[in-house]
């Protein structure tokens, strides 16, 4: 095997390890976090502090009866949970987790696919997520599922516009789709200690991005597609056992994707001022990955915190926020950033 293939597979393995660990960890974090907020105990029986709850749940998912509702469209019903995860997992190939390191005299860029289309590819892959929901809702032969799917897709496409526009605004001063260049553009500091992260000049864009991210992942306060008080569980009402688990993982993976994107676009990605990114390559890669995962974790915790703190929007409110508030705000932010760049401020 050539050196390039081994390097690529190594990088893939690094991401896969992180991503597959995410779901069980987040399951624990979310349940303990909600318990903390609601003054309950949360899972505390399996292992110390209930830490192995994720493992126990995985075993349980494997052994549960798998119910395919009568009248369901079987091929689509089976394909939907797989499609929920594949695009979300694949988006990580364009997210850099370290600088260019030297391995045995050869330069290796710590990004799985260092392609020029970078973030554009990520957005394209993320936009495929909507098919999974529609397929699940359509194939289940259940009214709640169908309603949830239609709502979910309307919501996702409505907020995608604002999300895309805020991403475009970040690209203007950078002049590239490549996320490693976006990170490179944020490595300086102001006054010697304040990191030059995009979040400062792009604060409006960041807020738009963050709100849209909640809507894109169907998380509270925008979890209308699965509003349990009216739609039971929305598009995955009829799913059980491992298929349900895949939807469950899919939600966390979309959260991780958007958290990683937010960290990379607005918070310097794998880079943290004050950390020395030199030395043996494995050590550098570990430092880069740790910093990035830590930033992703902060966003994930924020997702959990918000979920257990806010009530749900109504559907008309949701649409109004997306089309009448976020979209104009995103356009305004874009023009403002472009004007500031022309003026030479950014």
């Amino acid at each position: 095997m050539s050196f390039g293939i081994v390097a690529t597979l190594g990088k893939l393995a690094a991401w896969l390890t992180v991503l597959l660990a995410t779901a069980p960890i987040m399951l624990w974090v979310e349940r303990r976090g909600s318990a903390l907020i609601q003054d309950r105990r949360g899972p505390n029986r399996v292992g110390p502090l209930g830490l192995f709850q994720g493992l126990a749940d995985a075993v349980k998912f494997l052994f549960k009866e798998d119910i395919v509702p009568a009248g369901a469209d079987r091929p689509l019903y089976l394909l939907a949970p797989i499609l929920a995860l594949v695009p979300a997992l694949t988006t990580f190939v364009v997210i850099p987790f370290g600088p260019v390191v030297e391995v045995g005299g050869r330069a290796v860029n710590l990004i799985v696919a260092g392609v020029d289309t970078g973030v554009l590819l990520l957005l394209a892959l993320a936009s495929l997520g909507v098919y999974s929901l529609v397929m699940a809702g359509y194939s289940s032969n259940n009214k709640y599922s169908l309603l949830g799917a239609v709502r979910a897709s309307a919501q996702m496409i409505s907020y995608e516009l604002a999300l895309t526009l805020s991403v475009v605004a970040v690209l203007i001063p950078v002049g590239s789709f490549r996320l490693d260049e976006v990170v490179a553009a944020q490595q300086g500091t102001w006054f010697g200690f304040v990191p030059q992260w995009n979040v400062a000049p792009q604060i409006v864009g960041f807020i738009v991005f963050l709100v849209a991210a909640f809507a894109e992942t169907n998380r509270l306060p925008f979890d209308l597609p699965e509003a349990e008080s009216e739609l039971v569980a929305g598009y995955h009402t009829e799913y059980s056992s491992m298929k349900f688990a895949l939807f469950f993982m899919g939600e966390y993976m979309s959260m991780a994707t958007l958290s990683a994107l937010a960290a990379t676009l607005y918070f310097g990605g794998w880079h943290l001022p004050g950390i020395d990114y030199s030395g043996p390559w494995a050590w550098v890669a570990l430092k880069g990955l740790t910093v990035l995962v830590a930033k992703i974790a902060v966003f994930m915790l924020f997702f959990v915190w918000v979920r257990w703190s806010f009530p749900r929007f109504r559907f008309d409110q949701l649409m109004r926020l997306g089309w009448k508030v976020l979209l104009p705000l995103a356009i305004f932010n874009l023009v403002a950033i472009a004007a500031l760049t022309v003026a030479g401020v950014l």
Binding site: L121, A124, L125, V134
Partner: protein, 170 residues
């Protein structure tokens, strides 16, 4: 090469499913496969920017609209058979004539025009953007007007009579 063969096969096979499948939802899903396969072709041809846009616009937006229409209008699977015998005969004849015409043109075009290999430079992002925002500035702004017309048309079509949008809906 193996990648090309795989996705060429996928593109053709899924395109066949789009036409032949009786359930419109399956047709749309196959179209998704077709368009993604075409995006892979673009990458192989050295136009990754086009490929990303293809996925973003076609599969990410336009086909979602198709799915919406199918789900909203409650189009169920097409009834098998149907149509008069003469109708079927006519359709077969028309298809034959069309295939014949295509074949004639294809043979006639052989050697008449020297095939020009796609220049990666011409479809790369930077020259593309440079042309779009200088040489083709006017068409670009006209596209804006076209999109404006589309916005107005869509809104007008969704209104029925003098009611505002969706007023008569449950």
């Amino acid at each position: 090469m193996a990648v090309f063969a795989l996705f060429a096969f996928l593109a053709v096979a899924s395109a066949m499913v789009v036409v032949t499948h009786r359930n419109p939802v399956y047709s749309v899903m196959s179209l998704v496969v077709t368009l993604i396969s075409l995006a892979v072709m673009f990458v192989l041809l050295g136009a990754p920017f086009l490929a990303a846009l293809q996925v973003l616009v076609y599969t990410g937006a336009i086909l979602v609209l198709f799915l919406f229409v199918i789900m909203l209008l409650n189009i169920e699977r097409e009834a098998p058979g149907g149509g008069h015998k003469l109708q079927k005969l006519g359709a077969a004849l028309a298809a034959l004539v069309f295939a014949g015409l295509l074949a004639t043109w294809f043979v006639a075009a052989q050697g008449a025009v020297e095939p020009v290999p796609l220049d990666a430079e011409a479809v790369a992002l930077v020259p593309l953007a440079r042309h779009l925002f200088s040489t083709y500035l006017l068409p670009f702004e006209i596209v804006g007007v076209l999109l404006l017309a589309a916005v107005i048309a869509a809104t007008a079509l969704a209104r029925r009579g003098g009611t505002s949008v969706g007023e008569d809906e449950a």
